[in-house]
């Protein structure tokens, strides 16, 4: 294990300890302590957006701008792949 690997391994263990330790500080899995935003969405999805699927209502109506960003990410990736695989000589 040369020196570089040792430093990298030390870094990895530090990050790992931080992560494992932080998982126990998180709210217990199953009863989230805050519920203001999501409870509002669950209560009036049907009458505000007319959709039955809560997740689609959030994706397209409550947080629709994220999905516009989402569609742009996909559009960028396709444009990037086409740009990288183009023929170089005109």
């Amino acid at each position: 294990m040369n020196k570089r690997n040792l430093i990298a391994f030390a870094f990895l263990t530090v990050v790992g300890v931080f992560l494992i330790f932080s998982t126990f500080m998180m709210h217990p899995f199953g009863d989230p302590n805050e519920q203001a935003m999501d409870q509002y969405i669950i209560d009036n999805t049907v009458d505000e957006t007319g959709a039955n699927n809560g997740v689609t209502a959030v994706v397209f109506d409550y947080r629709g701008f994220d999905t516009l960003g989402e569609a742009t990410v996909l559009f960028t990736a396709v444009a990037g792949v086409i740009l990288v695989f183009r023929r170089l000589k005109k």
Binding site: H27, M37, T72, V73, F75, A79, L83
Partner: protein, 525 residues
């Protein structure tokens, strides 16, 4: 209400959507012919620039603007924020101005620069998408939206960095950039999930209101700062920056400077607004961390710049050094703001330092941008990037030489140019915090001047080389682009206080007082 009011009331949303609409239309319009598409792209960026100025004027008059996507603001009952909203305060619109100037000039520059290249319509689509990503990053008030726009900017710029796929180095630089950006963005998403898990809110104002600096918030803060500083090119994590700036086409390096500074805006937004109410708690204040990072960035940037032989890599390391100044100024400001015993009133130099560094953001962007365009012009004319076999270009590339002199003076902070105004503010204020810091800052600025004078001698002066006899001046569009940036630099250099009073000062106040960022939430609508 008539048409103008309708447009003005929806201007914040149009800022990001117009470049997006332009990007989606470019593949269709490029079916007509190249000229129409180029004019269309420059037109779209021009219209966006006009909208940025309009919104800037509105923000400077009426303070922070909030624009909710999906319905009017009254859906914020019992202060739970459901929808995504744009929160535009003076700092956001200042950064948006920086990004849109760079993008607009890049589109004019790339008209001439990419005359003989293939794949131009995808290039312009990605340029528009990158602009939309940068503007979105800077204007949004929602954390997850910030993450999505970071991704758009990094994917678009990675593909553009690897534009010359026949060069192995360019593809390697693109891969290195997207690899590091993805890991950084994934950890930012992890930090956002940490905050969402505790407070069930994604809005920056709502989170800032309810953060109580628990153990998890400390982890999230460290992840935010390290990931955003990595994408901002701060020293310990700047490995990708010289490759990305050095290998990309010149107009893309120009816009990349804006993307890097948007990430640094992210660091400031997280530090001053998201954790605004709790930033005074940690014993070792984060200000000193920023000052230290800024110093190291300056020193490493300048030293590495001295030993470079590739023209654009040298300017890239110069850009890294300049980023150090921005971190230095805000760091000194934070050391004073963050510890409650010496308030801002008793140490006015903190506000001066912040003013210097925020002003330096736009100065650095313009100076480095101009130098990259000059490097691109030299590459366009001579197809040569390494300094050893360049020389004697001043004779037949007169305008480019003049622009290089302006850029050289600006980046090393010589009086007539804008670099001097912001660096002077930083020198004065950091001196009062600790004299050693400002000495290092002045030294690195002098070394930067030495480095760029070396380039000037080796590229433009020197004996007339046979192989550069037929080198003619670069096409008109590249000269116009360089001219715009040079004139802005000179204008800022001659009237710095005009810019500081009505652009930089409100931005600094918006950063220092997080309570008026939360005003619409707590003030109650």
């Amino acid at each position: 209400m008539n048409f103008i009011d309708l447009i003005m009331s929806h201007a914040p949303a149009l800022l990001v959507v117009i470049p997006l609409l332009g990007a989606f239309l470019t593949p269709l319009i490029s079916k007509i012919n190249d000229k129409v598409r180029n004019i269309f792209v420059i037109g779209i960026l021009g219209v966006t620039a006009v909208f940025v100025l309009l919104v800037a004027q509105q923000v400077l008059d009426t303070g922070t603007i909030t624009y909710v996507f999906g319905s009017s603001l009254q859906t914020v009952q019992n202060n739970t924020v459901i929808r995504i909203l744009f929160e535009i305060d003076a700092l956001s619109i200042f950064m948006a101005l920086v990004s849109i100037i760079l993008a607009f000039v890049a589109s004019i520059y790339s008209w001439g620069f990419l005359e003989k290249e293939t794949g131009q319509d995808k290039y312009y689509t990605l340029l528009l998408l990158m602009t939309a990503g940068m503007l979105g990053m800077v204007l949004t008030g929602d954390l997850f939206n910030f993450f999505v726009f970071i991704e758009i900017t990094s994917i678009a710029s990675a593909a553009l960095i690897a534009f010359w796929t026949n060069k192995a180095k360019a593809v390697e630089a693109g891969f290195k950039y997207i690899f590091i950006s993805t890991i950084g963005a994934l950890f930012i998403l992890f930090a956002i999930a940490l905050l969402y898990g505790q407070y069930n809110a994604l809005n920056i104002a709502k989170l800032a209101d309810s953060i109580t600096f628990t153990y998890l918030d400390k982890i999230a803060l460290i992840i935010f700062i390290s990931a955003l500083a990595m994408k901002g090119g701060i020293v310990p994590m700047h490995m990708w920056l010289p490759d990305a700036y050095g290998r990309a086409p010149a107009p893309i390096s120009l816009v990349l400077v804006g993307a890097t500074q948007a990430s640094i805006y992210g660091v400031f937004r997280v530090l001053f607004t998201l954790y605004g109410n709790v930033i005074h708690l940690p014993k070792i204040s984060f200000g000193w961390i920023l000052v230290l990072l800024g110093l190291i960035t300056m020193i490493v940037g300048v030293i590495m710049a001295m030993i470079q032989t590739d023209f654009k890599r040298l300017i890239a390391y110069g850009a890294v050094a300049e980023l150090g100044y921005i971190f230095l100024g805000v760091g000194t400001g934070l050391t004073i703001i963050a510890n409650p015993d010496i308030g801002i009133s008793s140490a006015p130099f903190a506000v001066e330092a912040m003013k210097g560094s925020i002003f330096h953001i736009i100065n650095d962007a313009l100076d480095v941008g101009l130098l990259f365009m000059v490097a691109g012009a030299v590459y366009y004319a001579t197809k040569e990037t390494s300094l050893n076999n360049l020389g004697g270009l001043a004779r037949n590339m007169k305008y480019t030489t003049i622009f290089f002199i302006i850029g050289l003076l600006a980046i090393s902070g010589i009086p007539p140019m804008n670099g001097f105004a912001s660096k002077l503010l930083i020198y004065e204020s950091t001196y009062q915090l600790n004299p050693i810091i400002s000495i290092i800052a002045i030294l690195s600025s002098i070394m930067l001047l030495a480095v760029f004078v070396k380039i000037f001698q080796s590229v433009f002066l020197g004996p007339k080389l046979k192989k550069f006899d037929d080198v003619k001046e670069v096409p008109k569009s590249m000269l116009i682009a360089m001219g715009i940036i040079a004139s802005i630099i000179i204008f800022f250099g001659l009237f710095p206080d005009l810019i500081i009073t009505n652009l930089v000062e409100p931005a600094v106040n918006a950063l220092i007082h997080p309570e008026n960022y939360l005003q619409w939430l707590t003030g109650g609508l």
